[in-house]
Every structure is written in structure tokens, then in C-alpha cells.
């Protein structure tokens, strides 16, 4: 069970959180400008890297806030956490 450092509450057990999957996927500003394939990309396609992965998590059984977690999918080590809207500490968040 991961120990996740909520940026608002501090380190808490994973069971207090909900994982929202890959972070930094923006909803297209004009969905109509996308063809079906690109819309499907936005809707369904997610990265599944071996190693560093940026994810959204919500402290659903705590403060209720969403935030970002950079996690190593091999070691499950948490590299960093940062609030919504903040750039990832490692850069390249697009």
C-alpha cells in the first residue's frame, strides 16, 4: 500500500485516495475540430510507461483535493507530488 504525500494533508495511506489515471491530458478546447481518431485518442489512449509516470490522484477520503503524483511504475517510489496547475518539478509537463 503506497504512502502518498497529499500536498494539503501530508502522508496518508493509499486507501484514502482515488487514482484518476494519467495526468496532463487536457480536454480539447474545441472538440469539433478533432476528427474521430483524435477524439478517441483523447478519450481512450493512455500512456503505460515502465518507469516514471505522472498521474492524477484525489484525496477522496481526506481533503477531497485533486493533485498530481509522479510515480515510478517499477519501484512504486513516489518521485514528486505537485498541486493542480503547478508545473511538474521535472519539467516537460505540457
Amino acid at each position: 500500500m503506497l504512502l502518498i504525500p497529499c500536498p494539503w494533508c501530508g502522508a496518508r495511506d493509499e486507501s484514502e485516495f482515488t487514482c484518476g489515471g494519467e495526468a496532463h491530458i487536457r480536454r480539447p478546447a474545441d472538440p469539433d475540430a478533432l476528427d474521430d481518431a483524435h477524439w478517441a485518442d483523447y478519450l481512450f489512449m493512455r500512456a503505460n510507461p515502465k518507469g516514471s509516470h505522472r498521474e492524477r490522484w484525489c484525496h477522496s477520503h481526506g481533503c477531497g483535493r485533486w493533485f498530481n503524483v509522479e510515480r515510478d511504475t517499477v519501484t512504486h517510489g513516489i518521485v514528486s507530488v505537485y498541486r493542480m496547475g503547478e508545473p511538474p518539478p521535472g519539467g516537460d509537463g505540457s
Binding site: 500500500m1 503506497l2 480536454r27 472538440p31 478519450l43 484525489c58 496547475g85
Partner: protein, 980 residues
């Protein structure tokens, strides 16, 4: 010796002043306090304790610990029965009742032993090969197999015991309280760390044979017990090692006390421990040797023989053959010899069995047969002879076979460091050729290993490593390792070409070296495949004794090195955990919270039958004077249609949406437009997932300019709240909106029926109920029955209807006023509500929708705004969404109006012809309509109402029902009644 013929007169850590009576297979015996069931049975001369799983071979006690594969017993009776308890770990208590498993009628005469004679018919993969066809036959075979396999008996009745769950945090968790673990705990504690020390045995101190060493460890234990920053957990097995140093341990609090356990204690505790650092001092487990008939009662691990004689003062036999491929067994031979066991020979597989230990044995007068092996054994219920032959340089047998009479064979095939938890932690293992063992290597978590788990073979090295690991200082991990100079074969060759005599590798699952070789020849060359095909290591012992020899034999067969074959994955639990401990207090009434509305007590007193909706208890219907469900629901429906009914709708989700951008949020979330909704008005809304599928629906009222009260379905209240929060926080942080859940703060009572206006008028004097002043889909604030209330004119029944919302604390007063005898209002439950809405063709979320249904499928194009974007809109534009073969919502009318279709029934285009055919839809809702005097149903059917011909067929168990597709609005399609 009080009927314990194999008990020594003195010595051991047992209390001879406290005899303990127990029974095994119906016979009474006596042991002493401090005994395990295994040591007490051995003291009484009982060596045959059960039968093996597959061949029902007579089996005895192999080990003295958790790794025991053979001596599994049924403990206790009735609801407290425990299957597959390890006799080697069951602490004896007065009145203990145990019996053999895997045998019928008993271990001395077992019909299943016929399998042993037929073993050539039961090779590896037998189950897969034999029972594949015909598949219907499996049901027949399975019953036979279960009976013969006899994996113990499940307890009968509800578990009468209490279990607790503990959460603990510490700086250092030390697993194992042998020399290394005690040293680690002391070093960490002296450094000021908060320490938890857990050990599966009843006392700290490990398994040292030497009394002086044990005494020194006692001093360490006493020091630790006095420290406030140390918690010692005995009878506690750390059984799972998860991410971020989170570990699970099972503490057996009262199992060793049996019926004498104090009532205030739980039977077991499940510890959930988060540790800053972990020190694994889990020791090592001895391996059996693989030779023909190595599984007879009386053949045990050398370390176990030593533990029985030293710790329990029990002679595991009177004349022993000790057989080993390493030095450690010489200590066992000497200890047995000192305590009066005649040593027939020490058989050493190594040719160069010289050095300190063998010399000591020779000096004591023991006969050592170096370069020899035990190749076979005889004896049905107990071993009688060991057969010994010389081993050639290339590992083959040579010369004559000598027969040594004995009643004990103590064997050692080397040691497996107990790396299970280390591996669970994500640690890498390295096969060490010199030690013939897998050793811990790098780990991604804060974990250190100390002692025999690192291959250390002497107490001083264990203590040094433990001290360093506890203090967090560097250490010499290689200290104390003794090379296994052995080139001894992993499996001793057979005596003759016929290869007679099975050589067991996995005792619990009856896997032999021949099974492994056969599986390799048949192509099961990955160790993971081998495991599943032969069931090697898949018993309750998870192959603690047999796995390494098994994969060494696989490697040998394939001509590979052991590291190339690798190990199977070590998974939690290290040792089985009871379901009771996992459930803890989350059973019965505490399994899940129960939510009750503020009017619940009234419903109860009125005799309501309740329905579970999520965690809520909702009145399902209110039977009167022996009414059936059918009768009650019909009465309630007709009352609403013809007079007035009242329903507790307090469970609906209620979310206050306010802030300057509240309207913008509603526009993005709901499919319809919210720009022009004025204060005092309500609107029905539908929300979709981004994939275009219907998520939820409900009515939203504009309370003031940018304050809205949104309702959700009962089951989706928290999901919708989380959904809105997620969009606001992650995608639209620029929107200035605040959400507040009011689900439990507000109660809702629906008053429905042609008399509703008249009844409400009698209860309010400050709300103008005239249709022009208070039209459909409007809301008004005022007092109802003297209580401050908001009244919403909405309808889910199709009748003139008001939903009256009051603070939860006022709900009972409101309900009591509405149901007063002067109003002649009928309380109705959720089932009548379901019928009434189905008569109107209204969808119910979760019934007509299942996450694959779009608004287009529901013919709800009217609610999709064309002037704005909303969540899910783009997905609806995909061509597949307009596929004419998508299932769409229809009404269904059965040919026979009395036939009520079962919900979920499949729908076919043609009557079934006997060959499989595709279904074109299914029934989503189906009821008897008392209003219409016939059955009605809603369904999702390919092509929907455009389907031609409109006749479909619904196959049931005993017949096929014809039905025709129609408009789903069965009653008042134009809504005259609710608008009136």
C-alpha cells in the same frame, strides 16, 4: 514417564509439572505445557499423523516449524473447526482435539491409499490430461476428487470468535526474534527508534540448540521488554510485505489457550504496520534430501530432530541414520547421540566430509559413511530400514546396497534462506553456487537482511549482522557463510534401471523428481509453467521445503544452470491468514454502514418492507392486513392514480451549486441549456460521461441568480458530487463555483395524485397553489404544516405532484402531518414508484441505463442542446452512435396481457429454433400495471421503435413469449395529468 515413552527424563523447555491432556484421532494422550502438538505426539510414539494429498501415502512429521508440509491436522469441531493446522506449530492446551486429514476412514487404514498402488496412472498434469472431456463429466469427477483429496473440513456455522485489526507505525520493524533479530531490535532501540519486534513463535530466542546461547538471548529479551520504545509481538507471523514498507502480520492471540482464553481477548489480530525501516531476520529453512521413499513417517529434517530432542526433550526415534550433504546435520547427530539415540551411521553425500564437525562426530564414536547416500527406505507406518550405497564421482551409485535398521532418518539437504518477505518487497535474489542457495541482493525499499537469511551459519555472525542492521550501520553480509563444498546430486539416483521408489520433492502436493522431469520433457520448461502443471509449491506450505530442489532438478533436466531457470514469484501470504482476521470487525451489522432517512421509524412502525438502495434502507411497499407484495403495490399505485399518495424521497442526492460561474458549470455538465432558467423554476437534466453514455439524471432548481439546487439519483449521489468536483478542480479551475452536499441535511417528501393540490392547500397558507401561479416545473418557498419548506412541482409518477423539501429535523413532523387521517393519503414505496414511472415510460438510471446507453438510444434528442458544448457531446457525433442496429428504448406489450416478463430476459427476432442465435435486446423493466390492468415492459432492442416487423420473442425457461414493440409511454402520453 506418564505414558510418554519417547520423553526424556530431564531437559527441554517444557514444564513437566503441568501435564496437558489432548486427543488425536479419538485417542487420549498426555503432553506437557510447552509442547507443540507435534512434539507431544512424538513423545507418545505417534509418528503416523496423516496421509498425503494425492497418493494418500502414510506421512509423519517432517519439520518443527511453519514450513511443515505433512503433519496437517483438523483442529477443534463445529464452528471452531480449523482445517489444515500445522501440528508443528499448534501449541498444546488442555482439551485440544485434533484429527488427521486426507484419510478415510483413518490414517492407519485409508481407502485412498489405492491411489498409491495406481500411481503410474496419476502422472504430472493428471488432472489436466484426464478430466478435459467430456466437460460435463467434470462435475462427476470433481465430487470424487474432493472426497478423496479431503483438504480438511470447513468450520460449520458462523465464526463465534472476535478478530481485531491494528494499525501501527514504527521506525524499525524487526521480523524474527532469533539472535540476529534480537540484536537488531536492541541496537535500534538503544538508538532511540520506535521498534516493533515480531516473531511467529511463542517466545523470542529463535531456534538455537545451545542452552548457553539461549540464556544470553534471554537477557537481550528482558532488556527489550523493559524499554518503552519497543513492542514485542509473539505468535505473530509477518506474512505480507507490500509497497512503501507496509507489512501485514497475523497475531494469534488466544489460539494457544483454546477454550480457556479470557473472553476480553480477540482470537487473532491483523497488524497493518508502516515501518520506516525493516530488518528481516527470518532465518533459513532446511531442505529435505530427495531419495526413493524419502517420505515415510520417521524421516524428518535433521534440524527438526535436533529441536525435538533439545527443546522438547523428545526422542524422535531410538536408532537413527543421519544423512546430509553439509556440516549442519552433524550437530543434530551429536545431540541425538548425547541424549541416548543410537546413531546407526552418519551418511555424508560428500566424499570429502572432513573438517571440524565430522571430526567431532568421529571422536564421539559415530560411524561416518562419506561419499555415500541413502537410496531407499522401508517401513509402512514407520521407517524400519535405510538403504545406503556409495556415490561415484559423477553422482551415480556404485557397489552393493547396505541395509541399516533404524526408526529415524534425520536428513539435511542444505538450507534455504527465508527470503520470502524480501522477495515480496521487490528485492532481487542471487543464486550463490557455493552456498547452493538464493540470497537477498538489492531491494527498492528500506529493508536490510541479517543472519541466516544472508547465509550466516554461526551465531556470532548473526548477532553482528543484526546489530549493524538495527543501528543502520554497514555490515559484512558475507560473514559466517560456510561453503557447501557439495557437488552432491539434487536427487539421489534410483537403485536400479526401473527407477523404483518415488523420490518426493514437494511432500504436500506429492510431486516427485520424476514428475518434474516428465513435465520438462513435455515442454513445461519455464519454472512458472512447471509449478502450475505439476502443482509443485502450490500447497498451503507454498513449497517452503521443496521449491529449490524442484527447480534444481528442472535445471538439471534441461541442462541449464539454476540461475537460468530462476525462481517462481514469492507472493503474500508467507503463511495462511484466516478470513476472520482479514474481516476483523467488518462483519454482520458492522460490515457496511446502514443509512436511514429521518422518517425511518415511521416506516418501520407502519410495517414497511424495506429495499436496500446502495446503503440506504427505503420502504419498498407497506403491506396491510396480510396483503401480498402484489396486492400492496397495486393498492398503492391505484391510490396515487385516483386520489393521493406520499413517498419518502429523502435519499435523493442534493447538491448546492453556487458561485458566479454556477450556470456555466451546469451548461458544461448537463446536455441541455441553463442560461434562461429563472429563480423559482426547475429543469430536468441529463448528464453524460465524456464517452457519450448516460451517467445520471435529476431536476435542478434555480434558487436565486447563481444558486442552484441539483438533485441526483439515490445511488449516484456521491459519484455525481465527485464527478463535478473532478471537473472543477482539474479541468476548469477558472470556474468560480462551490459545491455543497445537502443530501443528509434536507429531507424530501413527494405528494402525488389528483388530490395533491387540495391536500397541500390544507397545510399551507402562504403558497399560492393555483396552476397559473404555481405551474409545473416551478418551485415556491413557504410554510407547509407550519414548517419552513421549499415546494417543487415536479413529477416522476405522471400525476399532479409536489416534492416538499424541509430540513431533515422537520421531516418526521411534515410526514406525520401529511399522513394524518383527515387527508386520506396513502404512503407508497419504491416499487409502486417504479411501476408508476414505467407506466409513463420514464427511464430509471441503472435500470434502463448500464453505461452503454446514449441519449440517442433513449430517443431523448430533445434534451441535447445544439448551441453549446457539453461533456459527451463530441462522442455522440461518432458514426457508430447512429448505427441503426444500436439498441434503443421501446415499450413491450406481451401477447397475453397476464404475462409479466422477467427483467433481464433476452429478446430474439425469431422464435428459438434450437441452434444458438444472437439476441437483439433485453427487458430492462417489467411490471404488472394495476392502472392498465395488464403487464407492461421497457426494453432495449436493436432498431428500437423503427423495427420491422414489430414482433419479438422472449424465450423463458419453459416457453417463449411473443411481444410487440410500442411507444414506451403506456399511460397519459401527453402529460395532461401532471400539467393539470
Amino acid at each position: 514417564m506418564t505414558g510418554q515413552p519417547y520423553r526424556l527424563a530431564e531437559g527441554g523447555a517444557i514444564d513437566r509439572s503441568r501435564p496437558v491432556g489432548f486427543s488425536f484421532d479419538g485417542r487420549r494422550y498426555t503432553g506437557f505445557a510447552g509442547d507443540t502438538l507435534a512434539s507431544a505426539l512424538l513423545a507418545n510414539g505417534v509418528t503416523l499423523v496423516g496421509r498425503s494429498f494425492k497418493y494418500h501415502r502414510p506421512r509423519g512429521i517432517l519439520s518443527a516449524g511453519t514450513e511443515e508440509p505433512n503433519a496437517l491436522v483438523q483442529l477443534g469441531t463445529g464452528a471452531r473447526g480449523i482445517a489444515n493446522a500445522k501440528a508443528t506449530r499448534v501449541e498444546l492446551h488442555e482439551g485440544l482435539v485434533a484429527s488427521s486429514v486426507n484419510c478415510w476412514p483413518g490414517p492407519r487404514c485409508d481407502l485412498g491409499a489405492l491411489n498409491d498402488l495406481a500411481h503410474r496412472l496419476i502422472p504430472a498434469g493428471f488432472y489436466y490430461k484426464t478430466f478435459m472431456w467430456p466437460h460435463r463429466g467434470w462435475h462427476f469427477y470433481e465430487r470424487l476428487i474432493r472426497r478423496m483429496a479431503g483438504l480438511g473440513r470447513a468450520p460449520e456455522g458462523a465464526d463465534p470468535d472476535r478478530y481485531e485489526r491494528m494499525n501501527a507505525h514504527c521506525d524499525v520493524l524487526v521480523v524474527g526474534a532469533g539472535p540476529a533479530g534480537l540484536a537488531a531490535a536492541r541496537a535500534a532501540a538503544r538508538g532511540g527508534s520506535r521498534v516493533i519486534l515480531a516473531d511467529e513463535r511463542g517466545l523470542p530466542g529463535g531456534t538455537l540448540p545451545d542452552a548457553a546461547d539461549t540464556g544470553r538471548l534471554g537477557e537481550t529479551t528482558a532488556e527489550l521488554e523493559d524499554l518503552d520504545n519497543v513492542r514485542i509481538l509473539v505468535r505473530t507471523t509477518v506474512t505480507g510485505y507490500f509497497d512503501h514498507n507496509f507489512l501485514i502480520a497475523l497475531e494469534r492471540v488466544t489460539d494457544h489457550l483454546g477454550p480457556h482464553a479470557p473472553a476480553h481477548l480477540p482470537r487473532q489480530r491483523l497488524w497493518r504496520i508502516r515501518a520506516g525501516r525493516v530488518v528481516l531476520a527470518t532465518g533459513a529453512l532446511e531442505r529435505p534430501l530427495v531419495f526413493a521413499n524419502n517420505d515415510r513417517p520417521g524421516i524428518m529434517l535433521a534440524s527438526a530432530a535436533r529441536a525435538y530432542v533439545n527443546r522438547f526433550a523428545v526422542l524422535p526415534g531410538r536408532r537413527a541414520v543421519v544423512v546430509t550433504d553439509n556440516d549442519s546435520a552433524y550437530g543434530a547427530a551429536l545431540d541425538l547421540h548425547r541424549n541416548g539415540v543410537e546413531i546407526a551411521a552418519v551418511v555424508d553425500l560428500r566424499r570429502n566430509g572432513e573438517g571440524g564437525k565430522p571430526a567431532e562426530a568421529r571422536a564421539a564414536g559415530l560411524q561416518i559413511l562419506a561419499g555415500h547416500a541413502v537410496v531407499d527406505s522401508r517401513g509402512r507406518r514407520r521407517v524400519r530400514t535405510a538403504h545406503v550405497a556409495r556415490l561415484d564421482d559423477d553422482g551415480s551409485l556404485t557397489g552393493p546396497v547396505r541395509t541399516l535398521s533404524c526408526d529415524l532418518i534425520a536428513m539435511s539437504g542444505g538450507w534455504n534462506p527465508a527470503v520470502h518477505l524480501f522477495s515480496q518487497a521487490g528485492g532481487r535474489l542471487r543464486y550463490d553456487e557455493a552456498l547452493r542457495a538464493f540470497l537477498p541482493e538489492g531491494a527498492p525499499q528500506a529493508v536490510r537482511c541479517a543472519g541466516a537469511i544472508n547465509g550466516a551459519a554461526d551465531t556470532a555472525s548473526c548477532i553482528a549482522q543484526g546489530r549493524a542492521a538495527g543501528a543502520g550501520e554497514p555490515d559484512d553480509r558475507a560473514a559466517g557463510r560456510v561453503e557447501a563444498a557439495s557437488r552432491a546430486p539434487w536427487a539421489v539416483p534410483a537403485r536400479n534401471r526401473a527407477g523404483e521408489g518415488r523420490r518426493f520433492v514437494d511432500f504436500q502436493n506429492d510431486v516427485t523428481s520424476a514428475d518434474i522431469a516428465l513435465a520438462a520433457r513435455e515442454g513445461y520448461q519455464s519454472v512458472e509453467h512447471l509449478k502450475r502443471y505439476t502443482t509443485l509449491g502450490m500447497g498451503t506450505d507454498q513449497g517452503k521445503t521443496g521449491n529449490v530442489a524442484g527447480l534444481a532438478i528442472l535445471a538439471q533436466t534441461l541442462g541449464l544452470a539454476i540461475p537460468e531457470v530462476g525462481t517462481t514469484t514469492f507472493r503474500p501470504p508467507y503463511d495462511p491468514v484466516t478470513f476472520g482476521a482479514i474481516a476483523g470487525r467488518d462483519v454482520g451489522r458492522l460490515a457496511d454502514p446502514v443509512r436511514r432517512t429521518p422518517i425511518h421509524r415511521w416506516h418501520e412502525e407502519a410495517g414497511a418492507v424495506f429495499e436496500d438502495v446502495g446503503q440506504w434502507k427505503r420502504p419498498f411497499y407497506y403491506p396491510q392486513d396480510g396483503e401480498t407484495k402484489h396486492g400492496a403495490v397495486a393498492r398503492e399505485c391505484l391510490a396515487v392514480r385516483n386520489a393521493a399518495g406520499v413517498m419518502d424521497a429523502s435519499t435523493l442526492g442534493k447538491i448546492l451549486v453556487c458561485g458566479p460561474d454556477a450556470r456555466a458549470l451546469l451548461n458544461r455538465i448537463y446536455t441541455n441549456a441553463w442560461d434562461r432558467l429563472e429563480a423559482g423554476r426547475c429543469r430536468y437534466g441529463l448528464m453524460l460521461g465524456e464517452d457519450g453514455m448516460v451517467l445520471d439524471d435529476g431536476v435542478t432548481a434555480c434558487l436565486a441568480g447563481n444558486r442552484f439546487l441539483t438533485t441526483t439519483t439515490t445511488g449516484n449521489a456521491s459519484r455525481v458530487f465527485a464527478w463535478l468536483e473532478e471537473w472543477l478542480q482539474t479541468e476548469w479551475p477558472d470556474l468560480d463555483v462551490y459545491l455543497t452536499s445537502l443530501t443528509e441535511q434536507l429531507a424530501t417528501v413527494a405528494l402525488a395524485g389528483p388530490n395533491a393540490r387540495e391536500i397541500l392547500a390544507a397545510l399551507t397558507d402562504d403558497i399560492d397553489l393555483e396552476p397559473d401561479a404555481f405551474p409545473f416545473m416551478a418551485w415556491r418557498e413557504g410554510r407547509v404544516a407550519g414548517l419552513p419548506a421549499r415546494v417543487f412541482r415536479v413529477s416522476y409518477t405522471g400525476e399532479l405532484s409536489y416534492e416538499i423539501v424541509v430540513p431533515a429535523g422537520d421531516a418526521m413532523d411534515l410526514w406525520t402531518a401529511l399522513t394524518g387521517p383527515e387527508h386520506a393519503v396513502t404512503p407508497f414505496g419504491t416499487e409502486a414508484m417504479h411501476v408508476l414511472r414505467a407506466e409513463k415510460g420514464y427511464l430509471m438510471i441503472g435500470q434502463e441505463t448500464d453505461g452503454t446507453v446514449t441519449p440517442l438510444d433513449l430517443d431523448m434528442q430533445w434534451i441535447l442542446s445544439r448551441k453549446k458544448d457539453f461533456i459527451g457531446r463530441r462522442s455522440l457525433a461518432r458514426p457508430a452512435m447512429r448505427d441503426p442496429l444500436r439498441k434503443r428504448l421501446v415499450g413491450l406489450e406481451t401477447g397475453d396481457p397476464a404475462t409479466v416478463l422477467p427483467e433481464g430476459a433476452q429478446i430474439l427476432a425469431e422464435p428459438p429454433s434450437g441452434v444458438p442465435e444472437a439476441m437483439i435486446g433485453h427487458v430492462t423493466s417489467s411490471y404488472w400495471s394495476p392502472t392498465l390492468g395488464r403487464s407492461i415492459a421497457l426494453a432495449l432492442v436493436q432498431g428500437g421503435r423503427d423495427r420491422e416487423p414489430p414482433t419479438v420473442h422472449v424465450p423463458l425457461d419453459d416457453r417463449t413469449v411473443r411481444a410487440s414493440i410500442r411507444d414506451p409511454r403506456f399511460y397519459d402520453p401527453d402529460g395532461v395529468r401532471m400539467n393539470g
